[in-house]
Symmetry: C2
Subunit: 132 residues, 2 copies
Amino acid sequence: MNAPQLTRNQALVFDVLEKAEGPLSAYTILDKLRDQGFRAPLQVYRALEKLLEYGVVHRLESINSFVACAHPGEDCHSHGIVAFAICESCGQVIEFHDHEVDHRLMSWVRSQKFKPAKTTIEIRGTCEACAA
Amino acid sequence: MNAPQLTRNQALVFDVLEKAEGPLSAYTILDKLRDQGFRAPLQVYRALEKLLEYGVVHRLESINSFVACAHPGEDCHSHGIVAFAICESCGQVIEFHDHEVDHRLMSWVRSQKFKPAKTTIEIRGTCEACAA
DNA sequence: ATCAATTGCGTTATGCTATAACGTGTGCAA
DNA sequence: TTGCACACGTTATAGCATAACGCAATTGAT
Ligand SMILES: [Zn+2]
Ligand SMILES: [Zn+2]
Ligand SMILES: [Zn+2]
Ligand SMILES: [Zn+2]
């Protein structure tokens, strides 16, 4: 899905995510947008829903958080499954793609006649800087 | 981690998960154990924490649910990353392992000097039976 | 035997995450 | 004009998870 012109709320939420150092929860986003008039979680969740649909934001299932896509311009959906490495110490997220992983998973899926809709790959651990 | 003798609460929770057709949320487990004296979420979460530690139960991050390991006897941790295919229609879960996927992910991780702690692979979609 | 540390358990309260349900306004096409 | 789709605002509620307290049983030194 390509991203059309964002609405005001969508643009505000996306802006917060883009400027953030790491992933943010919906409620953290809400707090950051109170000065812009946000009052309720739904304002954030509705914007996120669209941003996810457009592929410009990703949801990190294992930490209930959202992050701006690290590959602006490209269409993340087009280069296969998106994977994330999440540092549990500093919160930094690295987004990456591996076609061989995609290929193996999709070939397993085919062998089971399973119809995939959305695939999650998240590695939680410690980044190089935090490994100390 | 090998599983020692389970405590009463741990055994009750594990039993519910083992007999379930698919993954259950902590609160669903709680409801199923009210007759056995369970009153509070913590009783379930504390048991789950241990069962996860012993590797006899897996947590499905993308649906906030828990499922008994499909490979009893084996130590799931020993054959690498565990992956799941989750049918969003019937709730059935297929647990599998793919060494090549492990290898690719771990080789990426090494290249980034990232120290993995816990990796999640979950494919949500429709199973063969539900594809209809 | 005694003491300290660990572990499991029960309870109450609280916090965090997400959606339901209702109503409003605006733009656009039939 | 009328109907529809969509974004939005608000209130309320549902669903998921943990904090903090206290108690009892177990274990393992000393
Ligand atoms: Zn992306
Ligand atoms: Zn880090
Ligand atoms: Zn398993
Ligand atoms: Zn199914």
